[in-house]
């Protein structure tokens, strides 16, 4: 039992190095939060140590053989009881007041905060930087307040950025907001490291946990979903990058805004990137397995049986409709849960996604090949 006690105290002792207890302090809230946390913790220790001490001391000191009488049989001591009822209340009031003040600070958005739109859906984040630029990563400016205007298209989610000590639920049917001011800028890794990582990662989806920096070479802070939202709740994560200068931020926004005009990225590649970044991946597999939505494998060009009994060919028009009006044509066996992407994907984006879907379907590949050959055939590869 005493070994356990030591364990307790050694863990408490770790408080001296805050890093054991908290992630890096990266926002203006962080220090305030941590100080308050430790103040409360020390107060708790102040109460807990005497309580636990008395507990074990009394248990040993007054241990008596069976049948021995108690030394005292005091029934009550009203002043004492009143004292230990009322005195701790002062500490409680102090905690409440500090906590509430700090909370009000966090609710009051300073004027001129930069606004970023946030849309949560199962199971990804879509950060809206205006002008149709939507990306799963949150990029903000250092030392400037940022406000997130948040909404959800399906169920309740919650934005949590541990490094900023900030959290807020994203409730469908409501607009919630949160704000924070980052005071530590993200470092950038060297170009060689980035280049080798990009090379090694290849065309797969970027592995943030493995590299610990973004595909653009920034170190990042974690952004989690903390309100249970279904199957892939635990991978509904994103990253926060804090830019040093506005130019840097704008350069990044420009970079991710659309497929480069110079043709360096093919539509299919861009489509794959969108597939990974914009939430398709959460519900549509590429290997034929059934998730929330139908798999993309072998979907392009094949017939789809709908819930209303019709069947329709999954051609470019169908795919476009399914992206813009997803609840109109539902494949049999699935729920109408996909949110509309109207206004969020440009025509080029949709074309890119269609091009990507062609690459994961035999039919699409064949048609693609035959198109090059100059002939078109209506290959009936229907499967019911």
């Amino acid at each position: 039992m005493f070994a356990k006690m030591n364990n307790v105290f050694s863990l408490l002792g770790d408080q001296f190095s805050g890093s054991e207890w908290f992630p890096q302090q990266a926002s203006t809230f962080a220090k305030e939060n941590d100080d308050l946390f430790f103040a409360i913790t020390w107060l708790c220790v102040l109460f807990f140590v005497p309580i636990a001490g008395c507990l074990f001391y009394f248990a040993l000191k007054y241990k008596k053989p069976k049948g021995a009488k108690a030394e005292s049989n005091t029934a009550h001591n009203t002043p004492l009881e009143l004292a230990w009822s009322i005195l701790p209340s002062f500490f409680l009031v102090a905690m409440f007041v500090y906590g509430a003040q700090s909370y009000l600070n966090r609710r009051t958005v300073p004027d001129g905060a930069n606004e970023v739109g946030l849309r949560a859906q199962m199971w990804n984040w879509q950060l809206d930087y205006g002008n149709g630029v939507i990306n799963p990563e949150l990029h903000i400016l250092v030392d400037e307040p940022t406000k997130l205007a948040m909404r959800s298209t399906d169920v309740i989610h919650s934005v949590f950025i541990p490094a900023f000590r900030a959290k807020k639920d994203v409730v469908p049917g409501r607009y919630n907001y949160m704000w924070f001011e980052a005071d530590v800028a993200s470092e950038k890794v060297s170009d060689e490291t980035l280049a080798s990582a990009v090379k090694e990662n290849g065309s797969d989806e970027w592995d943030y946990d493995k590299w610990q920096f973004t595909p653009d070479g920034y170190k990042f802070f974690d952004l989690y979903c903390t309100e249970y939202c279904g199957k892939n709740h635990s991978i509904m994560q994103s990253v926060v990058v804090v830019h040093e200068t506005e130019d840097d931020l704008n350069a990044w926004i420009k970079k991710v805004s659309k497929r480069p005009d110079d043709g360096s990225v093919s539509p299919a590649e861009w489509g794959k990137k969108l597939y990974n970044q914009r939430g398709c991946k959460g519900c549509h597999s590429l290997d034929g397995s059934k998730r929330v939505g139908p798999s993309f494998k072998e979907s392009y060009g094949n017939m789809r049986q709908l819930t209303n009994g019709d069947s329709v060919k999954a051609d470019a028009e169908y795919i476009r409709n399914s992206i813009l009006e997803p609840k109109k044509q539902i494949v049999a066996g699935y729920q109408p849960v996909m949110p509309s992407y109207k206004g969020q994907l440009s025509e080029d984006d949709i074309a890119s996604i269609t091009a990507f879907l062609e690459t994961v379907s035999d039919y699409g590949r064949k048609v693609g090949a035959e198109d090059e050959g100059g002939s078109t055939t209506e290959e009936p590869t229907e499967k019911e």
Binding site: R107, E115, G117, D128, G130, N131, G132, A149, M150, R151, T153, P172, G173, R174, Y175, N176, Y177, K327, P339, S340, K342, G343, Q344, L345, S346, E347
Partner: protein, 398 residues
């Protein structure tokens, strides 16, 4: 305890330990005196009524919340409810409360015939209530005035004819019950079993009363037909007041049509909901969030909106959404939940009243032992009381 002559001192005590040989039959073995038993039962039933009140309070809260959020929807939709039928039902239930109170008194005074009569009267009132209610329900189902998810009301065709005969389905179980009771009456009369005849006779009347209620409801509903037509004509206005008000509220936003279109496109739920939510003070951040969103979308709109088609489509869907299921349906959701659960309580009340009736015929109750009548009476008054609240809240307040 020597005053109890009627109760035979049976060795009811199945545990067989030899204490308190003066236990009358109705006194459970673990109570010492009839008073203790009565007090326990009384406290128990009061606590049960407290839980019932809290059970309904959840729905009253829902009513308050949604009424505060969308007063115009509640005003418009409550015009669909037939005040006459509601008033008749209120009267019927109030009268049944009187007969129930009378029944308690009869049981205390050992007026056995009076007890059976008043219980039967109470039951008959309950049945009339349900009969009228079934007219109300079937009429509304036929019109498609259903909870949000099933709402199918079409103002241009308020009385569609291609729906199943809901009234018949509701009547079937009651008809079966009536047939059963009649059979019971005939068989027991044939066998000359007086006690069973005494039970089945009032129950036959009770079952018939359901159809009296149905007839009453039909007369009132059809007599109301002309008024109904005016009502229906007024209804779209009443309902339309919702979109009109909303439209006015967002007049500024409506000027910038592309912005609406863009947000209409993005907000799959619907724009109007957010507008309403934005009016709710407790929903912090909505207003600024909405503005922010509209600005973003206005900016985004230039690059993504493809043609006029989308603009028109988005606007019309917004209007239709306000008119039908999502908003108007909520009123009927709450209406059906509240009155439906109340009707279930009436049904449960009918069940225990029938049990009382049977026991009353068996002369189970006496001066010392009338607890069950008293407890059921309290329950019945509560069910009435809840209706007394439901009637103005749903039917009258406009």
């Amino acid at each position: 305890m020597s005053t109890i002559e009627a109760s035979p001192e049976v060795g009811h005590d199945d545990h067989g330990h030899d204490h308190d040989h003066d236990h009358p039959a109705f006194l459970a073995h673990h109570f010492d005196t009839p008073e203790q038993q009565f007090d326990s039962g009384k406290l128990g039933i009061w606590l049960f009524l407290v839980t019932e009140v809290l059970f309904f309070s959840g729905m009253f809260c829902a009513y308050a919340i949604f009424r505060a959020l969308r007063p115009e929807v509640f005003e418009g939709c409550s015009q669909f409810l037939n005040t006459k039928l509601g008033a008749i039902n209120t009267g019927v239930l109030l009268f049944s409360s009187l007969t129930m109170a009378w029944a308690v008194r009869c049981s205390q005074l050992e007026q056995h015939k009076g007890l059976v009569g008043t219980l039967a009267a109470t039951l008959s009132c309950a049945m009339i209530f349900l009969g009228v209610k079934s007219i109300e329900y079937s009429h509304k189902w036929g019109m498609g005035l259903l909870p949000a998810g099933l709402f199918a009301y079409d103002p241009s065709n308020p009385h569609p004819t291609d729906h199943p005969n809901y009234l018949m389905y509701i009547c079937i179980p009651f008809a079966i019950a009536l047939a059963g009771v009649l059979l019971w009456l005939v068989v027991s009369a044939g066998l000359g079993n007086k006690m069973h005849v005494a039970m089945a006779m009032p129950l036959t009347v009770v079952c018939l009363c359901f159809f009296v209620g149905v007839g009453l409801g039909m007369v009132l509903e059809s007599g109301d037909e002309t008024a109904e037509h005016i009502d229906v004509h007024a209804d779209p206005n009443g309902l339309a007041s919702a979109p009109v008000m909303l439209e006015a509220e967002k007049a500024a936003a409506a000027e910038a049509a592309p912005a609406i279109a863009a947000s209409g496109a993005m907000v799959s739920v619907d724009e109007s909901v957010l507008e309403i939510l934005a009016g709710d003070a407790s929903n912090t951040g909505v207003t600024s969030g909405l503005n922010a969103l509209e600005q973003q979308n206005a900016a985004a709109g230039t690059s993504t909106i493809t043609g006029d088609e989308a603009v028109v489509g988005a606007i019309t869907t917004t209007e239709i959404d306000v008119m039908t299921p999502t908003t108007a349906g909520v009123f009927f959701s709450i209406y059906y939940c509240m009155t439906g659960i109340h009707a279930i309580h009436i049904l449960a009340g009918i069940g225990v009243l029938v049990w009382l009736l049977v026991r009353a015929v068996r002369l189970d109750f006496n001066r010392q032992y009338f607890g069950p009548v008293d407890y059921v009476g309290l329950y019945w008054h509560l069910v009435d009381l809840i209706w007394i609240y439901l009637f103005p809240l749903l039917y009258l307040i406009r």
